[in-house]
């Protein structure tokens, strides 16, 4: 038996943990830079706030309905997400963290007489310990667990947030109810193709006469999905893998037109990439620098520019990666052009301890110690105060976060203050 556990409106629920007075009140969370709505509480959904709406366009509505607005506080959401996953691990050792607010659980080899009751225990514990409401879908396969979860979300009151697909009747009923666009792995483009072929529900997808069509359009992935929806488990719980690529890209608030300004940005992006590599104990070989010009002000059609280079040795040193990125930038940058966006991507990532030694070229061993000091300082203070010389000390991680809540659980200075009155 599998389960998919999904936290309800996770970001909004996290904000409520430390501000219980917002329970029952409408909340929206804005994306990085306070750009657009990326998460809404049920109350905000009911008021008709659309997902993805740009903040400036709906500002009046937000004020009018007294909707509480937050910038995304990933330090807080990340910590609470880890806690939720740890609590769930108390119910089964086989857990796959699928996203910040979703996890697949597998219960093979365990004697659970009543899954509904077991689900209620999970739900109660996460609610009591962490104040995070969750929904759980149980089924024989991962894809069906996902369907079951969708049903709990739709019929929260009737299901108490728990739904189990454990017989053929329930499975067929659930598949007929599930729209094809809501099936796990069916995106926007595939939905269109499916509908053209008269496949409108998950049930249609499993019909025998559609098998060859699915095989030709989706290949083995589609067939696997078909088996899963039929109740034959083919997808296993996956072990956590390190990221294959890491990218840090930003659109600029204003325009960037000078090389010195751009150097500062690219160097900062590179150091963040290096920091992420060190966090997952990896090194990279490939560095990509990406620039985008203002597409309405270019003489030619081209406005996206890339450059890829390979390091002589795998590295996760901010200095090494930043130096290469800046060197690449200098060959790409054109004075007098207007740039809107830039980014640094690192690829060909390998685990730190699988680094190959080189005879003639190797990382300066001093970097390792220096990076450790930088990381420790950042961990301790939560501030990236130690930077490279080409980074601007005044400039913080330039993100607009006007509605940011405190980092209650990860920063000592931000601890919740409780009045004793």
């Amino acid at each position: 038996m599998y389960a998919l556990v999904d936290c309800n409106n996770f970001d909004a629920s996290c904000e409520r943990v430390f501000q219980p007075k917002l329970i029952g009140k409408p909340i929206v969370i804005l994306s990085n830079n306070d750009g657009c709505v990326i998460s809404r509480s049920y109350e905000a959904k009911d008021l008709g706030i659309p997902m993805g709406a740009p903040e400036f366009k709906i500002r009046e509505e937000l004020n009018q309905h007294k909707i509480h607005v937050f910038s995304s506080n990933y330090a807080l959401y990340g910590d609470l997400s880890n806690r939720v996953m740890k609590v769930l691990e108390g119910f089964t050792p086989h857990l796959e963290v699928y996203s910040i607010d979703e996890a697949f659980l597998k219960f093979d080899g365990m004697k659970i007489p009543d899954y509904h009751d077991y689900g209620l225990q999970m739900k109660r514990r996460v609610q009591k310990w962490l104040s995070i409401p969750i929904c759980i879908g149980f089924a024989e396969t991962k894809a069906l667990a996902k369907v079951a979860n969708k049903i709990t979300k739709k019929y929260q009151k009737r299901t108490q947030g728990i739904y189990i697909i454990d017989n053929e009747e329930k499975r067929i009923k659930a598949l007929k109810w599930t729209k094809i666009e809501d099936v796990w792995g069916i995106g926007f483009r595939l939905t269109k193709k499916m509908k053209d072929k008269n496949i409108h529900t998950a049930y249609d997808f499993t019909l025998p006469h559609n098998e060859s069509f699915i095989k030709t359009t989706m290949g083995v992935v589609g067939l696997r999905l078909k088996y899963e929806l039929e109740g034959k488990s083919v997808l296993e719980i996956e072990e956590p893998k390190d990221k294959k690529n890491i990218a840090v890209t930003r659109s600029f608030n204003g325009n960037i037109t000078t090389l010195s300004e751009m150097t500062e940005r690219v160097s900062t992006f590179a150091t963040i990439c290096a920091e992420k590599l060190r966090k997952q104990k990896s090194c990279c070989y490939g560095v990509i620098v990406y620039l985008r010009k203002d597409k309405y002000k270019v003489a030619t059609q081209r406005y996206n520019f890339y450059k890829i280079e390979t390091l002589p040795f795998a590295s996760n040193s901010s200095l090494t990666i930043s130096n290469l990125a800046v060197k690449m930038l200098k060959t790409m940058f054109e004075e007098g052009e207007i740039y809107k966006k830039a980014g640094v991507l690192v690829t060909k990532i390998i685990p730190e301890n699988q680094k190959q030694f080189h005879l003639f070229e190797e990382e300066n061993p001093k970097h390792f110690k220096l990076m450790k000091v930088m990381d420790d300082y950042y961990k301790k203070t939560g501030e990236r105060k130690i930077r490279l010389g080409n980074q601007d000390l005044q400039k913080t991680w330039k993100m607009k976060q006007e509605h940011l809540s405190p980092r209650y659980t990860t920063c000592f200075k931000h601890l919740l203050e409780i009045k004793c009155q």
């Binding site: 007075k21 409780i418 004793c420």
Partner: protein, 144 residues
């Protein structure tokens, strides 16, 4: 032709925090230190103060209503949310949307939230109040 790997490289692991005890007596060939058999693990305040990592949160006290219970202004409270509320426990409560720290008193005529300072009045929880017992205060850390 199969290529056999004859060389294995080892890289020092500088990351793991394996702490080795230092024997100040030195190690000599001869009679071993009698204390060596009693070498115990290091003391970690985390381990003492936090029984349940996932359910434990810290918060800072601000104000004087709980000084009688040893919670002074600026103290750090260790709060375990997995514990069940009980009579006489000190709890972080959320009453009508506001956080407060009080001692829980379950009496015949209802639930009271008691301060530990005579300058403050007890709160009787009525039907009109919305009370959430957010967590139980298990330890207080104060600077001397």
């Amino acid at each position: 032709m199969s290529v056999k790997n004859n060389l294995t490289f080892f890289i020092p692991d500088l990351e793991s925090n394996l702490e080795l005890s230092y024997f100040p007596s030195g190690i000599k060939a001869g009679f071993p230190s009698p204390a060596a058999d009693f070498d115990e693990s290091k003391i970690s305040l985390d381990r003492v103060l936090v029984k349940n990592h996932e359910a434990t949160f810290y918060a800072k006290a601000s104000g004087t209503s709980m000084t009688g219970a040893g919670i002074d202004d600026g103290d750090i409270m260790v709060i375990d949310r997995s514990l069940e509320p009980q009579n006489n426990k000190i709890a972080v409560c959320c009453i009508d949307g506001e956080f407060t720290v009080k001692r829980i008193a379950i009496k015949k005529d209802g639930i009271y939230l008691l301060p530990e300072n005579e300058a403050f009045k007890p709160i009787k929880v009525t039907e009109n109040n919305e009370l959430i017992i957010w967590g139980i205060v298990t330890y207080v850390i104060k600077s001397m």
